[in-house]
Each structure stands twice: as structure tokens, then as C-alpha cells.
Amino acid sequence: MARTDSASEKALGSRRKTFRRADLWLLLLIALSSVLLFVFFLWKDTRIRTPVLEISQDGQVVGVYPLSEDRELLIGSKESGGYNVVRIENGKIRITEADCPDRSCVRSIAIDRRGGSIICLPHRLVLRIADGAGGIPDAVAE
């Protein structure tokens, strides 16, 4: 038998011998890395980003705030006019005070981690939840 083996090895060349060992390991490595890569990209695509409050004025982002800490922010100045007071409380965001003419920002519903935005048109101010968790409509017809 041993003779036949070595004879067939000779006949097939050294290809088969190396396949049995190193190539098997390589195949395993490839399979393993593909599984790991697959899991990694899946995780990367679906991992939950934390929703944050993004405030921009005149198209420029002026601040990004976590929803977890309560705080009150003054945008603009009360002395020179053109201000909005933004309050983050228990994860909900509102504009509580403003000196804009239409005051529609103050009359806007609070936004939270799900998403949405509050806009003060006269002051060109946009509060928006970035990476919102969803569960609210994509837009509201007014």
C-alpha cells in the first residue's frame, strides 16, 4: 500500500500533498475571516448611534449636544436682540423663549430622540435631531 501511495504521489506531483495541510488551513482562515468581515460590516451598518441635538444657524452648525444632560442654551443675545432660548429637559427639546416676530418656534412641539426638527425662520435657526431613532413620520405637511 505504501508503495502504491508513493507511486500515486509521484504520478500526481506534489500538488496533492500540500493541499492536505497548508491549503486546508488557508481555507479555514478564509472562511473564518469572511465570517468575521461579514459580522463586522453588519455591526457597522446597524449599530445604534446615539441621537444628538444639532443646532445650526445660517446653514452653519453652531453646536451639538447630548440629550441625556438637561441644560438651557441661549442662542444670540438678549441685549442686541434676535435670541432663542433652547431647553433640553428629560431628553425633550423645546424653544422656550424667543423674540422673533412670528414665535412659531416657541409654539412648536418638543422633539426627542426619535427625531424631528424645530425651525425659527426669522432667526434662520434650525434645531434637528441627528441620528434619530425613528418612530415618527418622515415629514409633517403644514
Binding site: 478564509i30 461579514f38 446653514g59 425651525i119 403644514e142
Partner: protein, 357 residues
């Protein structure tokens, strides 16, 4: 297979796997809010070309501002309203005679739509209302009713029959007539944005919000239908009356709760009659038009508010417009009108309507 191949093969396999891992179809999203023509424009665009398309859309908005704005002295409309470089027999000294303008395609389309609506409503909706709308101040919420003499003077300048389109030529037969595209322009712009985005093969879907006019098309990354909420009249901004789900189309509301003020217990709102220049009470708080044609739907939402439920339903039937309308009556009742089936359906507050395009 030689030795070299034997080593290269597995490495190439690994490389291939790495690359295919990287090119797993990632949904690109771009979203931003800009402010144009006194309106916030929020666009969310999906697809490989989202970033580039988004900035191109804002360029388009800026271009439209230079056509439709009644306030911007550089706009095409403003120059026409103030008879700058008027052709025809117009005499700037006496402000009389017919002025002639060769106008852009965008302006022509908007005016044609506005003139048609003026005709259809026999002037209750009037495209030449600008002298009247300029007397009312609905922005601050504590405006006042215009002086009667001023209102009558302004009304004497209103009359859509004094504006005429002949191909791409606009004729203004009265020297003091001024055009107002407030009820038409936003719809024309969102239609143009949508056309542009749909012409790009690298955009898979988008949601456009032009000051509360919503337009959606294509696919949402998670494959679910688009959900559009409808503002509840006289409630906090963002509080919902109900919501609609649709795969494609526009949702455009018009209502008395928006841009209004109260004086001596009377609500004065921005939906003004072309007949007397005063706010119209047609028994409706809100009309929402759901359709495919943004420009038409935008105009119709105002027309519905002016005509009231029964008359606007008649008009929509007569013109065979491809729209559905949600009416909110002064008594709080909600009705969905679907002219295709001829059906009228009572809707409960908080409902989730699934609409077929």
C-alpha cells in the same frame, strides 16, 4: 499550477473577500435645511450621489428665488411687477398701456397654472392679488385689518383678466396690475427638484419639505412606505391630526391656522378672497391635497380652502384632476375625497391612511 500560483490563489481569495466586504451596498444619505424665499427647505436624499445632488438642489432653489420672489428686487417677477424695461406700449410716466415681457419657462408654467385657477374660480382665487396681500401682515400674529380705503384702492388693481399669456410672452394690460405666485411657486419648485433628482440614476429616493409642502419618491432605505404627518389645526406646530402612508407623490396642506391673527374675537387668516380682499370662511379649517403634480396640488390646496368642500369637489371632478383631498371642517370633521372612485370617506383623528398613488 506552480508554486507561485499556489501562494497567490488564497491571497487573492482573501483580497476578494475584503473587497466584497467593503462594497456591500451602503445606503448613502444626505440631508440639510436651507432657507429660501422666506421658507425653510429640508431635503433628505438617498443614493450614491446624495451629497452632490443635495447641493445642486439648493443651487436650483436659489435660482428659483431669482424668478418667483415678489420681494427680491433682482427677481424676474419683481421686475415685471415694477415694470422694469417693459416692452409694448407701456408708458412709465403715466403708468398706463400694455406692458409686454418675454418670460422664462419656469415663470410661464407657474403663471399658466395660476391663471387657470383664477379662471376656474371666477376670480375668487386671483393671481394678481399682490396689492391686497401686501396690505395684510400675517407674519407677526398681531397684525391689524387694513384700512378700508386702502383695501378698496388695492382691490381696484386686482383682476387676473389683465394678465395674459401668449406663448412665452406675458401681456399686462393694466399699468398697476401685480402678480402674486404665493400659492403656486413652492409647488413649482418642488416639482422641479423632484424632476432633477429623478433624472439622476444615482439617487434612489428622497423626501422634500418646502415649508410644509411634502414630496416623496423612490425607496426608503428600510423599504417601508413614506409616512407623512398632517398638522393638526390650531395645535402646537408638529402635532398631528393624522398621518398618511404613500410610496410616491406630494402632500400639501393649506389652512386658516397658518399665518393668521385674532382681533376682537375674529380670526383673520391669509386665505384671501379675490372679490373683497378679506379672509374667506368656507367652512374649512384645512385642506390637504395628495397628488402627483406638486404645482397643481399646491394651487389646489388654496383653491379648496377658498371654494369650500362641495364646490372644490365639483371642480376637481369637472377637471378630472388626479388628486385626493383631505378636508378638515370647522366642526372638526375629517373627510377624504377620492374622485377616482367618487368616494367620500369619514376619517377619525389619529388615523393612519394608506393611499394608493
Amino acid at each position: 499550477m506552480n508554486r507561485c500560483h499556489r501562494i497567490a490563489f488564497p491571497f487573492m481569495m482573501i483580497l476578494f473577500l475584503l473587497l466584497s466586504g467593503c462594497t456591500s451596498p451602503k445606503k448613502k444619505t444626505a440631508s440639510d435645511t436651507g432657507i429660501f424665499f422666506d421658507t425653510s427647505v429640508t431635503l433628505t436624499i438617498y443614493g450614491e450621489g446624495a451629497e452632490e445632488a443635495l447641493s445642486e438642489c439648493f443651487v436650483l432653489c436659489r435660482n428659483f428665488e431669482r424668478i418667483f420672489s415678489a420681494q427680491n428686487p433682482d427677481s424676474e417677477l419683481y421686475r415685471i411687477n415694477h415694470r422694469e424695461n417693459a416692452g409694448g406700449e407701456y408708458d412709465p410716466k403715466t403708468r398706463t398701456g400694455t406692458a409686454e415681457y418675454s418670460i422664462s419657462d419656469e415663470l410661464r408654467e407657474a403663471l399658466a397654472l395660476g391663471l387657470e385657477a383664477s379662471e376656474d374660480t371666477d376670480g375668487l382665487f386671483d393671481i394678481t392679488m399682490l396689492p391686497v396681500t401686501e396690505l395684510w401682515d400675517f407674519r407677526t400674529g398681531n397684525g391689524s385689518v387694513p384700512d378700508e380705503t386702502l383695501l378698496l384702492e388695492a382691490l381696484s388693481r386686482v383682476g387676473f383678466k389683465n394678465a395674459e399669456l401668449r406663448g412665452s410672452t406675458l401681456l399686462l394690460t393694466e399699468g398697476t396690475v401685480m402678480l402674486d405666485l404665493g400659492a403656486v411657486a413652492k409647488g413649482c419648485i418642488s416639482a422641479a427638484l423632484r424632476d432633477y433628482l429623478q433624472s439622476r440614476s444615482d439617487i434612489t429616493g428622497a423626501i422634500l419639505n418646502l415649508g410644509g409642502n411634502i414630496d416623496v419618491f423612490g425607496e426608503k432605505p428600510d423599504g417601508s412606505p413614506w409616512k407623512v404627518g398632517i398638522q393638526k389645526p390650531f395645535s402646537e406646530r408638529g402635532e398631528l391630526l393624522l398621518s398618511v402612508e404613500l410610496s410616491e407623490g406630494c402632500v400639501i396642506s393649506s389652512g386658516v391656522y397658518e399665518r393668521c391673527f385674532e382681533k376682537d374675537g375674529v380670526l383673520y387668516h391669509h386665505i384671501l378672497s379675490g372679490k373683497d380682499g378679506m379672509p374667506v370662511d368656507s367652512g374649512l379649517l384645512q385642506a390637504t391635497v395628495i397628488g402627483r403634480d406638486d404645482a397643481l396640488s399646491d394651487t389646489l390646496s388654496t383653491v379648496c380652502m377658498l371654494l369650500g368642500k362641495d364646490e372644490s369637489e365639483q371642480l376637481i371632478r369637472k377637471k378630472a384632476y388626479d388628486v385626493q383631498v383631505l378636508y378638515t371642517g370647522s366642526d372638526g370633521s375629517i373627510t377624504l375625497f377620492s374622485p377616482k372612485t367618487g368616494e367620500e370617506q369619514d376619517i377619525k383623528e389619529g388615523a393612519r391612511l394608506r393611499l394608493q398613488p
